[in-house]
Symmetry: C2
Subunit: 214 residues, 2 copies
């Protein structure tokens, strides 16, 4: 069955799923959904995905999966090798907690629709950048302590997990807010390590359809 | 081993975990963390949970679990009966997507720390209520379509799942924003059904330590 990912090169949630797909060694087609141009609100996309968010994954069997964490867990269950979760329940809880910090405490406060809503409340551009930097910093502080304790090259242990699928796109996005990653040396070490890994390279925004060419 | 939940009666994220614990029939101790009074920022709590958020679950083995979704998945793996996820990967992805809509697209934009940050940006009380109502409405619209399709008494199928653990607290919180649940009849039907279920009743905010007495 052919997998098709509805993706936008610059958005962090589809980037998470691209990393997962690449780590599993799965081929997939990409359908670009230009979130900045509003493609996600168009009738064609809404008919496929009523929530109008990306990513969505067409399984090739007529089923469309939504929500990046749910898609990654589905990938793990349907394509168990290589594993993206540790074998023990406690380790899995630790990895999912790291993923949750990004998915629930950082990213939802900093995406495009929230920035647009803040503008609508009269919040200026600099204040919006400071708003975003605050949530990223709070979340990275929490992640730094966890990665310092559990990381061995990647965020949890020696091989990539769901935690890295979430962390690396958020580090990429942090660049927009002028955050200096040297404040979080454990996270920076993981990001540097991932930069040289072929799956993370294949999933990188600048290697996607629709991305600006140098 | 004795489970201990760090919980606040009025907050929705600990409420999710209380429902999961009750559905699994697990006894646990509660340590109240008064988020409105700022207990989560105190040195005693930060020493246990550096991120300073609730819930956190002490497993009784010296391990503290954080992030409500990660805790619920841990409960499912360590106490499989009764199951809170369907047996098939597609069904599990559907349930996790519903949970993700609440955990990632609704709740993070409406909690106490975000309301305080919006106040700090000069956003007034009415505008904050409208802000919250917007994100709840958008997310409930998406959930309504999914529950209409997959629900059979509960959000997915005939028995409670992780989706209900997330949905019911969010319906409770929606009352704060004067949202009329009759706009989402499928969600309202699930909430009415859950109101008569002993596990959901045991987990209800007004039945917790620290809640106001009538």
């Amino acid at each position: 069955m052919a997998l098709t990912l509805f993706s936008f090169w610059a958005a962090t949630a589809p980037y998470r799923v691209r990393i997962g797909l690449a780590l599993k060694g799965l081929d997939f087609d990409t359908v670009p959904v230009d979130l900045r141009a509003g493609d996600q609100h168009g009738a064609a996309y809404r008919a496929r995905n009523p929530q109008g968010l990306a990513p969505a994954l067409d399984t090739g069997d007529g089923d469309l999966l939504t929500q990046s964490l749910a898609i990654l867990e589905w990938l793990e269950e349907t394509h168990p090798a290589p594993p993206l979760l540790p074998p023990d329940a406690l380790g899995r809880a630790r990895v999912r907690a790291m993923a949750g910090i990004v998915a629930c405490d950082i990213h939802p406060l900093n995406n495009l629709r929230v920035h647009q809503a803040l503008q609508g409340q009269g919040v200026g551009r600099e204040a919006i950048t400071a708003w975003s930097a605050r949530w990223v910093s709070d979340g990275f502080d929490a992640l730094e302590a966890l990665v310092e304790r559990h990381g061995r090259g990647f965020a949890y242990g020696e091989t990539p997990t769901l935690a890295d699928c979430l962390l690396i796109p958020q580090v990429y996005a942090a660049g927009r807010y002028d955050l200096d990653m040297s404040r979080w040396p454990a996270l920076k070490a993981v990001a540097d390590r991932a930069a040289g890994h072929p799956a993370f390279e294949a999933a990188h925004p600048l290697n996607q359809p629709g991305a600006p060419r140098p």
